[in-house]
């Protein structure tokens, strides 16, 4: 591609015609603010904050939508730019009803950051959205119209990343509003169902919202109350998902991909949790259960492809939108549910405590895990296994709120019977990780010998659809990994081509989950991903079935004849 020079604030910069001025500037550490631009989404040009002056142009132009041209002279800080940009910021600020003191997003809020940076006078315009509704989606996600600044990134994330067309823009001008589809008709609930659109709770809208208008339905005060009112004979345990340990540091200013397991354990203990349990343990049991099912289906000519079920948004998608594919889903529960099930049985037994006296709090990268925890199909003895689910963001908010200086914390280890894991579990947080883990174990069982190959690099990376053919014994195993649910449409018409398909709704898998720190972009996701594969490569044991502690736990479940109830589940079509 042709390269040429442009000038930004008199600095000569080499670029190509594919670059927007905004990208060129940011790559060169020249700050241009924006609220509606998101590198994961198409350019929109709505917010009017990335204004620049370009020599020869009468109007100010939007840096996000102007492509570089040879010889272009750009100024980012002229009086004219500053005046318009600050005025637009002030106008946006007046759209947003501040709820900062209780808002989970206040750590990451880009509007708040810009308002502080440019010293916006908040009192110039009266707030105009006091009457706006909040739309709640199950117990997972909500959109609070009174905080919305009309950037529309939520609509694009829903549609383009998750492939769901659940959100839409209703009304014109100042009356426009983000609403779930079906709300147009006055019979809201019914109409929404009839029209066949439903939220899958993935939270990509929340992850891409610059101002916290789309957000998780937080359970911070519930968890605080539980910790405060804990009885002496009670245990409150936290279980942490594979991907949270490489992302939560970002909320405290650490670089993306910084591994902070030890600090996180210390912080949770300081908050009052009695034990911290590793969902990686449950990831190893999930791998074993799922690999066994794959082999069973292949050997006994049962329906293939096998579809993964770790991602609750994906499960919800199938149950609602494509129930005819339910029969392909693995019956295995997800690592979150395996771990919780083991806490309430195996862990309770070993600690000699009644399961009713244990409260389980999940620390998850995900908003849909909140919904998963309440699924009727996942109960045990007619009770939910999990009491509360906090996202990475909520957990960070809780830590910050309690004035715990995270970065200064010493490391602690989990050190309990549900804390050991193999490298195969560590990579569950990355797209392709579940597949790679299951293949390591399935191949071992099928080949019945120690497998020299451990790394299946064809499963890794950021591509939206990863396909491979893996040789086993007498046949080939055709696999596909869908990275970002929208990409499922690429294979939906020919899934019979494959034997095994992994689907993660969020781009990058759980490291890009809807409950992860804001901002997100491909560099951040790659750094988190890399950190997970680092944990794996450094582990001595890298195959799930080598986790003797997990094997012991599974034997326990079998001996009690509760293995089926704790490890497996069912699915059903959800009404349209």
């Amino acid at each position: 591609m042709k390269k040429f020079y442009i000038k930004i604030n008199n600095k000569k910069i080499l670029c190509s015609e594919r670059d927007s001025i905004l990208n060129v500037a940011r790559k060169n550490k020249i700050d241009i603010p924006s609220l509606c631009y998101h590198p994961d989404l198409p350019v929109k040009g709505n917010c009017g904050l990335c204004l620049v002056e370009i020599k020869g142009a009468k109007k100010l132009l939007r840096a996000c939508s102007v492509k570089a041209k040879a010889g272009m002279e750009v100024k980012t800080n002229t009086a004219k730019v500053v005046k318009s940009r600050n005025l637009n910021l002030e106008l946006l600020y007046a759209e947003h009803i501040n709820k900062c003191s209780t808002c989970v997003n206040s750590i990451d809020c880009q509007l708040l950051k810009l308002a502080r940076k440019y010293k916006i006078n908040a009192s110039n315009f009266p707030k105009r959205k006091t009457e706006r509704k909040t739309y709640k989606f199950a117990n997972a996600v909500e959109i609070d119209g009174s905080q919305c600044i009309d950037c529309r990134s939520c609509i694009d994330s829903c549609q383009l990343l998750s492939g769901i067309k659940h959100l839409e823009l209703k009304g014109k001008g100042v009356k426009q509003e983000i609403v779930p589809k079906g709300q147009k008709d006055k019979l809201s609930g019914l109409a929404a169902k009839k029209k066949g659109f439903a939220c899958i709770y993935c939270g990509q809208c929340a992850l891409h919202c610059p101002v916290g208008a789309a957000q998780e339905q937080d359970q911070i005060s519930e968890v605080e109350t539980a910790l405060k009112n804990k009885n002496e004979d009670e245990l409150i345990v936290a279980q942490i998902a594979p991907s949270v340990r490489v992302s939560i540091g970002e909320e405290f200013g650490l670089k993306p991909g910084t591994l902070v397991t030890g600090k996180l354990v210390t912080a949770l203990k300081k908050l009052g949790f009695d034990a911290v349990i590793d969902v990686n343990f449950g990831a190893d049991t999930t791998t074993m259960v799922e690999a066994q099912e794959l082999i069973d289906r292949i050997k006994n000519k049962k329906p293939l492809p096998l579809l993964t079920s770790c991602c609750p948004a994906w499960v919800r998608y199938l149950e609602y939108y494509q129930p005819e594919l339910i029969k392909y889903l693995t019956s295995s529960r997800s690592p979150q549910m395996h771990t919780a099930g083991l806490i309430k049985t195996y862990f309770a037994k070993r600690n000699n405590i009644s399961p009713d006296k244990i409260k389980v709090v999940s620390i998850m990268p995900c908003t849909a895990k909140k919904y998963e925890a309440t699924r009727k199909e996942l109960r045990f003895n007619n009770k939910d296994l999990i009491d509360f689910v906090l996202t990475t963001r909520e957990t960070a908010f809780l830590i910050a709120k309690n004035k715990i200086k995270f970065n200064a914390l010493k490391n602690s280890s989990m050190n309990n019977i549900l804390s050991e894991h193999t490298g195969a579990a560590a990579i569950y947080g990355s797209s392709g990780g579940v597949m790679e883990s299951a293949i390591r174990t399935a191949l071992h069982i099928l080949e019945n010998k120690k497998l020299p190959k451990i790394d299946f690099k064809e499963c890794r990376g950021m591509k939206g659809l990863k396909e491979a053919s893996i040789k086993i014994k007498n046949r080939k195993l055709n696999i596909a990994i869908v990275n970002g649910l929208a990409n499922f449409q690429k294979i939906v018409d020919h899934i019979q081509k494959y034997d095994y398909i992994e689907v993660m709704t969020c781009p990058g898998g759980c490291i890009g989950g809807g409950g992860q720190p804001i901002p997100t972009n491909s560099d951040i996701r790659e750094a988190r991903m890399k950190a997970l594969y680092n944990i794996d490569s450094k582990k001595k044991l890298r195959k799930a079935h080598e986790n003797t502690y997990a094997l012991k736990a599974l034997h326990y479940l079998e001996s009690q004849k509760i293995d089926k109830q704790i490890l497996h589940t069912t699915y059903s079509e959800k009404k349209k």
């Binding site: 350019v43 929109k44 040009g45 709505n46 917010c47 009017g48 904050l49 204004l51 109007k59 100010l60 939007r62 939508s65 492509k67 004219k80 005046k83 318009s84 940009r85 005025l87 637009n88 106008l91 946006l92 007046a94 759209e95 110039n124 315009f125 009266p126 105009r128 009309d150 823009l169 009304g171 014109k172 001008g173 100042v174 009356k175 426009q176």
Partner: protein, 331 residues
């Protein structure tokens, strides 16, 4: 002579308001890659006080349709969509008389409440594709990626009429003027394009005897001039509106403009959506903060996403400057 050459020699400019050279647009569409090409004729005519497209549809129907067919043949377009103001449905039969199966010409009437923005060309494309009524990001320009992503030539109705005239060597460098307001002889007139506002008013016997001012280019976006500034040529869509000082109150006039833009704003960009709302809010207050008011106007001019938002500045600023300089308390 080749039609494109004729168009170029006549220095034909678009009559939609922006005045883009016609032959440049054609060259872009002809050069653009894409198997299917489209011609879209813009007769949305959403600016108050402009009636020339209607006049052409009514009086020069055959010429208009001939122009369309000539262009369809020349640029080898697959189809023409005639996008018309909803009020022009009364000419539907008349137009269809000139459409036969040898050309693919479809008429689409804009919805009654589609408003001013519907005539903005990228918004029009969105409407025709069933999308939300608001402007698109440019580039890509319609000439490269317009209707359904195909190269699309978009012309105003008057431009098509002029192309027809050029094709049969009858183009006399005239244009259509819509004259309205407090005049004796309102209507649409065809006069030389280089006439001044004063001359047009003279020729049409519309020069008022009372103290008046003029808005030219449309009753929304047009510039305001006082009676000593009429040597200018008419801009934009070619409309001239006469206001008497006696019947027009400064405050009401500004309010009418702000309300029009507030109601027209599609909601896409901050300066227009929020700006027009705050301008309206300010006008409803007892004490006006004129400094802040004009800052919002400047902001619209400098940073709104499409031409609709920026066009509010001209009538307001020219009104304050040319018509009633006293009407600018402490600027």
């Amino acid at each position: 002579m080749d039609l494109l050459k004729k168009v170029k020699n006549n220095n034909l400019k678009g009559r939609g308001g922006a005045g883009f050279p016609v032959h440049d647009k054609w060259s872009l569409v002809i050069k653009a890659k894409g198997r299917e090409k489209y011609l879209i004729v813009n007769g949305a005519e959403g600016e108050p006080g402009v009636k020339k497209d209607e006049y052409i549809i009514k009086h020069y129907t055959e010429e208009l349709l001939s122009g369309i067919k000539i262009i369809l043949d020349y640029i080898k377009a697959k189809k023409c969509i005639l996008f018309l103001n909803h009020n022009y449905i009364k000419y539907d039969e008349k137009i269809k008389k000139y459409i036969d199966s040898s050309y693919n010409i479809e008429i689409v009437y804009k919805e009654k409440n589609a408003g001013y923005i519907a005539g903005e060309e990228s918004t029009m494309l969105n409407i025709l594709e069933g999308k939300r009524s608001e402007p698109r990001i440019r580039p890509p320009f319609p000439t490269e990626s317009g209707y359904k992503g195909s190269p699309t030539l978009i012309h105003n109705i008057e431009t098509i009429y002029n192309i027809y005239l050029v094709s049969c060597s009858q183009y006399k460098k005239n244009r259509f003027y819509t004259i309205n307001g407090e005049v004796k002889n309102p209507g649409v007139y065809n006069l030389p394009a280089n006439y001044s506002i004063a001359r047009i008013l003279e020729e049409t016997n519309n020069l008022p005897l009372f103290k008046f001012f003029v808005q030219h280019g449309g009753q929304a976006s047009g510039e305001m001039l006082n009676s000593s500034q009429l040597e200018k040529k008419v801009s934009g869509s070619g409309a001239i509106t006469i206001y008497s000082y006696k019947n027009n109150n400064d405050y009401e006039l500004i309010k009418r403009l702000i309300n029009f833009y507030f109601n027209s704003s599609c909601g896409k960009c901050t300066p227009c959506r929020e700006g027009t709302y705050r301008l309206k809010e300010m006008l409803s207050k007892e004490k006006m903060d004129w400094k802040h008011f004009l800052e919002l106007i400047d902001n619209l001019e400098n940073s709104s996403f499409c031409a609709l938002g920026s066009s509010l500045a001209l009538p307001i600023k020219s009104y304050i400057k040319n018509i009633n300089p006293k009407f600018k308390p402490e600027l």
